[in-house]
């Protein structure tokens, strides 16, 4: 018998602390597998954010830095400038990247910083218990939009990929999802390409992964996948928003 699927060496043995069905776990796997397949795990330095993935440093089997909320791109810049040959990635939630950290991601992109950004957009602040994020959909109920997000008070969802694609400094920006096997396989390709770009010194790459938060969405894991496909994708369409060849 041949093993066709087993846990990648890019991850440690530690069990994820994520809620049942939370797709953070899938994204972790794709990142770790990419590093292993590209043979750069030994050069990788990851930056863990503040958010549900705050413990990412316990899972990725490489050197890691834990960054303050939203500032992972700045921390990654510090790392990459000291060690230009290392493979540096940030792993950030939508609260982290699109709310408090919007200046840092924007400027890392503008600088064309040669890093890979993994942006896990689950349309909510997961870790803090389900508050409205900049990515929360209009009408979506959260603890801080108890009657559903109202654009008049709360504004509109932010499409980070579309925005950052406008910057001259950004190289490759794609939005993917992980709601089924096909999507997961495609997401893997995108993530891998984002790392290949870095290896080839192409500059700033970001993959936005639409992800679920069954706990704070108040849905089963399976319903969450469906909601993502049906509701989230219409606000956050999948696709490549920038690719400099």
């Amino acid at each position: 018998m041949k093993t066709v699927f087993e846990k990648t060496k890019g991850l440690t043995d530690k069990t994820f602390h994520y809620c049942p069905g939370c797709t953070h776990g899938i994204v972790h796997r794709l990142v770790a597998e990419s590093l292993v397949e590209l043979n750069v795990l030994d050069k990788a330095i990851g930056v863990a954010p503040v958010g549900c993935s705050v413990f990412a440093y316990e899972y990725f089997n490489c050197d890691m830095q834990q960054a303050s909320h939203g500032r992972a791109p700045a921390v990654a810049t510090g790392i990459k400038r000291v060690l230009p040959d290392s493979i540096v990635f940030t792993y950030q939630g939508d609260g982290d990247l699109a709310s408090i950290g919007s200046a840092e991601i924007m400027h890392a992109a503008a600088r064309g910083e040669n890093i890979t950004v993994i942006y896990v957009n689950n349309a909510i602040f997961g870790m803090t218990g389900g508050q409205m994020a900049p990515t929360t959909l209009i009408g979506q109920v959260t603890t801080t939009s108890p009657n559903g997000r109202d654009p008049l008070t709360d504004g509109y969802p932010i499409n980070m990929s579309e925005m950052l694609a406008q910057l001259i400094g950004s190289t490759y920006i794609e939005r993917v999802s992980i709601t089924n096997v096909k999507n997961v396989k495609h997401a893997k390709k995108a993530i891998k390409k984002a790392f290949e770009n870095q290896i080839n010194n192409k500059g700033f790459s970001m993959i936005e992964i639409l992800s679920t938060c069954p706990t704070n969405w108040g849905m089963t894991p399976l319903d969450s996948l469906k909601w993502l496909d049906e509701k989230m994708q219409s606000v956050f369409p999948l696709g490549v928003f920038k690719e400099v060849k």
């Binding site: 602390h17 994520y18 809620c19 049942p20 549900c52």
Partner: protein, 185 residues
């Protein structure tokens, strides 16, 4: 003064059980505090809270020496067994905890709460089974106040759940006489 620690998996209704006790105490004009642990065990893992109901002023809401401990899963038993003050009561959800307690200076009550809850139709009322047992023994608050609290917690939209909760309380109360025999004191 009753100083309680309630602990179990997240989702077993630990926090709401604690709040119901506190609310009932308040209704009876007692001093009450409820303090959740909101620590590292948040995602999955265990949840626990401290509840104090007292006729006197309550200085600290923190329970280091508990007169009552309810544990609904095994990690909680491991963590909180030694918090029970000598002479205190320890209620164990024996459906999920096969371990037997060796301490002899406390009252240990083994109650197959989850099994009973499934039996009466909803595994989620296991907490109420244990609460029923507690009420029988401790008498710190009356069942009536708890039922008041319950109907407040459930609200008008969930009155259909009232009966099964009441039943769970009764089942728990009934069980508490035949606690494990090998308890000292």
């Amino acid at each position: 003064m009753e100083k309680m620690i309630l602990a179990g998996f997240g989702g077993q209704g630990i926090m709401s059980m604690g709040q119901m006790i506190a609310y009932a105490g308040m209704v009876e004009d007692k001093n009450v505090t409820w303090l959740p642990s909101y620590g590292p065990e948040m995602r999955g893992g265990t949840a626990n809270c401290n509840v104090i109901v007292s006729d006197k002023d309550i200085a600290s809401p923190i329970v280091d020496h508990a007169s009552t401990v309810i544990v609904m899963n095994k990690p909680s038993l491991e963590k909180f067994e030694h918090y029970v003050a000598p002479g205190g009561n320890l209620y164990i959800n024996s459906s999920l905890i096969d371990h037997k307690v060796s301490r002899t200076d406390i009252h240990v009550h083994y109650i197959p709460a989850s099994d009973i809850a499934v039996e009466i139709g909803n595994v989620k009322v296991a907490n109420m089974v244990l609460l029923g047992a507690l009420l029988k023994i401790s008498k710190v608050i009356t069942e009536k106040s708890v039922l008041d609290a319950l109907s407040k917690v459930l609200g008008s939209s969930k009155t259909h759940l009232f009966e099964i909760n009441e039943l769970a309380l009764e089942k728990g109360a009934a069980l508490v006489s035949n606690t494990n025999p090998n308890i000292a004191m």
